[in-house]
Amino acid sequence: MSRGLRRLACLFAAMVMALAGGAGTALAQPPGGAVLRVAVTQEIDSLNPFVAVFLTSTQVNRLMYEYLTTAGPDNSAQPALAESWQAAPDKLTWTFRIREANWSDGKPITAKDVAFTYNQIMTNDAAKEANGGAVENYASVTATDDRTLVIVTKQPMASILNSEIPIVPEHIWASQVDRIGTLTNTETFPVVGSGPYVLTGYQEGQSVTLQANDSYWRGRPKADGVQLVKYENTDAAVQGLRKGDIDLVRDTTPAQFDSLAGDPNITRNEGRNRRFTELLMNWSNPSGVDGKPFGDGNPALKDVRVRRALHHAIDVNAVVERIKQGHSEPGYSIIPPVYPDWTFTPAPGQRRDFDPEKAKALLDEAGYRAGPDGKRVGPDGKPLALRLVSSTDVATNRQLADFMVGWFNQIGVTLTPTFKSSNQADDDMSAGNFDLAFSGWSVNPDPDPMLHQQTCSYNATAQSDSGYCNPEYDRLYAAQQAELDKPKRQEIVKQMNSLLYDDVHAVVLTHDRLLEAYRSDRFTGFVTQPAEGGVITGQTGYWGYYNATPVATQANTGGGNPAGIIAAVIGGVIVLGLVAFFVVRGRRSSSDERE
């Protein structure tokens, strides 16, 4: 046979294997009992709670470690390791009473563990990466006895009950403080924790395995364990859900979500999410902090008129209607509408709507005139050409990029998208090596951490956003942090949001609802956050995973494909065949989802 024919033959052979064997994802052997298997497409950056910032990693950390206080299903602060607390009249000294509970290895949890964790983050630079911002305002944290913790803050602190810091056992971590920033926390299993589940296994790029914690203070979870299984894309994950390989899939595309309707074994959940999707504009070159060169962002983006022009070129309603197919709403603020106390909607005169003519006028004004071919040329004679960095783990990013290219082309701006793994895209964003980028964050019930991320001090860190640095904003940030009167604080936060919007620190595109689906023949009882119409995964708590209840009788786990799909399968199989045949896909990664 010639080479071409042989390849075709191999391809067909691969198709057959793909049909027989499913979507080519290595499934780790799940542990015994009723284990909730969750498909994830994002990579794990680290499981070390001092380092992890990716959404998937912090979700695992939430299951492993309790906080002092935690956000309940209603998003309000609830007792967790602290059973009660009170603030002194000076508004600076807080006293927490730590409840009687045990670590998963049977040793008691004490105030000293909390003090150890907090002091590590405050004093050890290596431990600051994930939660350094949360303790910046702390003057001291001390355990006066096993049950009493005293926190003294530098300024009054409104968000102290929403400090989401995983508390680690001192008797395990004390001997490892010198490598606290480099540990992966997967060195020995089981990993001693205080949350509803205990980490018992981790295979990089494949799975994370957790078992129910028998000594959890709220009581052992009803599920025997949770396993996160890595899938290359959500399409494979949805097929896995249909076949019963997994029990819960998150962040499906609208087309996948709609196709799961009518399956009697599958329940869908469209949850209002605490996230926003944004188009970052890198204007930190030169840096707004010290004026030094930083990264390789296009200097044109330093001009607010250019940023506004780009915003006017984007038709957010088309994103909602055509890409998200209605499972979304236009966004204006980095605080999502799921937190009505803190979100922001610009006044009609302030709002920037889709208006290509206005965008062109702004570019003209900024000195970027249209050349004979319609392309904008800057005052320096260079065409206005921008790069767009996008990660591959969000399925709709590719389509979104297509639209951006079209819209920017309309106003004469050339846009070149590149697609990278989540880790690579994240590296680019942290180093400032991009012009535009798709990003997004999960926001906590208290707006403080998200607002903090836009301050000058966050520039050039793993959590930096667009390189925003405005002294006026920093002043307002400090003011809201110290303001304990909620209505007054709301007013300041509104000003901050308004400032961010006018400065176009980034273009907040949409607040997408999270499209989840689970095998209701295997698990029920998921508690969403918010309790009404909220999400199961990606919460600021562990309520979805903690309350998952196995269904006693497992009727059938097979699940067949609807007849109409067979034709599609043949086509799909060509795809799978190509993939299976040329399997060389190394660690294709996943996510701009950072927490």
Partner: protein, 295 residues
């Protein structure tokens, strides 16, 4: 007078070639498929405008099944799948053919030089060939297309420079066989230099083999292009069959049962690769009748 004799001889040879080729039913079928694809690809800009391909001016619904307005349905952004498939043929064919030419030129050059000069140049060139032969070419192509700037040119280079090794081996063997013939020796004795021998005698003699090999390689190159595009390494600014398949998977069209989005690019790849393979096989048989007898 001599010119007309040569002309006459060439015409007879061409007629014989055409006749022998026409006896290959499968070869003819392949030729028809390729001819039709080529016509469609070349005339596409006459009836497909930039607006048909732009997501922001698309008028169709999301993943609409085939209808009168959209004979092959629409994609996840409401564009006509028929228009995309037709435009996709341009990049797929361009990359496939250009990459093959690059690969064949490199391969023929290396093979002929190695065979002609022998000795240490041959040793160096053949070890280089062996190196590229044992390296999984797709892995190398992925690496190349990752480090180089995105675009159709990169893909052409990536496929071209990774797939020439087998051609080099083939051409080297053929060159060795030809250079052993007495007429080459005679040319050398009469004072023909390296360029004369290689250009006037060896090249015409290996060309038929190279041609048949080229036709077969195009098929592999098209599959490679689709694979790279499917893995997200293609040119994001242009439509090819591979990027269509990638978009279909990303948007969940498979799960949604949108077969009209998957089948056209998939079948197009199979049809064109099959076309090239059939033509290549027919060419081989024409040029080497022993193959036909052996069947």
């Amino acid at each position: 007078m001599t010119a007309s004799i040569a002309w006459e001889r060439r015409r007879t040879a061409a007629a014989r070639f055409a006749r022998t080729y026409a006896e290959q039913r499968s070869g003819l079928a392949g030729l028809v498929v390729l001819g039709a694809t080529l016509v469609v690809a070349l005339t596409a800009p006459l009836y497909i405008t930039a607006d048909d391909l732009s997501v922001i001016t698309a008028t169709g619904g999301v993943l609409e099944p085939p209808s009168a307005a959209y004979p092959l349905g629409t994609d996840e952004s409401g564009r006509s799948v028929l228009a995309l498939t037709i435009m996709g043929s341009r990049i797929s064919l361009l990359v496939g053919v250009a990459a093959t030419l690059l690969s064949v030129v490199i391969g023929s050059l290396v093979g002929m030089l190695a065979a002609h000069f022998g000795g240490w140049p041959s040793a160096i060139l053949m070890r280089l060939t062996d190196f590229f032969l044992v390296l999984p070419s797709l892995v190398l192509a992925i690496v190349l297309s990752t480090v180089l700037q995105r675009g159709a040119f990169t893909i052409i280079v990536a496929i071209g420079v990774t797939s020439w090794a087998s051609t080099a081996r083939l051409v080297r063997a053929q060159t060795l066989a030809i250079e052993a013939r007495p007429y080459i020796e005679r040319a050398q004795v009469l004072g023909g230099g390296h360029a004369h021998v290689l250009g006037k005698h060896v090249l015409p003699a290996v060309l038929p083999l190279v041609l048949a090999n080229t036709t077969l390689t195009v098929g592999s190159a098209i599959i490679s292009e689709s694979t790279l595009a499917f893995l997200g390494l293609g040119d994001p600014a242009s439509v090819s069959w591979g990027t269509m398949l990638k978009a279909a998977v990303d948007s969940g069209a498979i799960t949604a049962g949108a077969w009209w989005y998957l089948l056209p690019p998939g079948i197009a790849i199979v049809a064109v690769v099959l076309g090239f393979t059939l033509c290549g096989r027919a060419l081989e048989i024409v040029l080497n009748p022993a193959l036909a007898a052996r069947r």
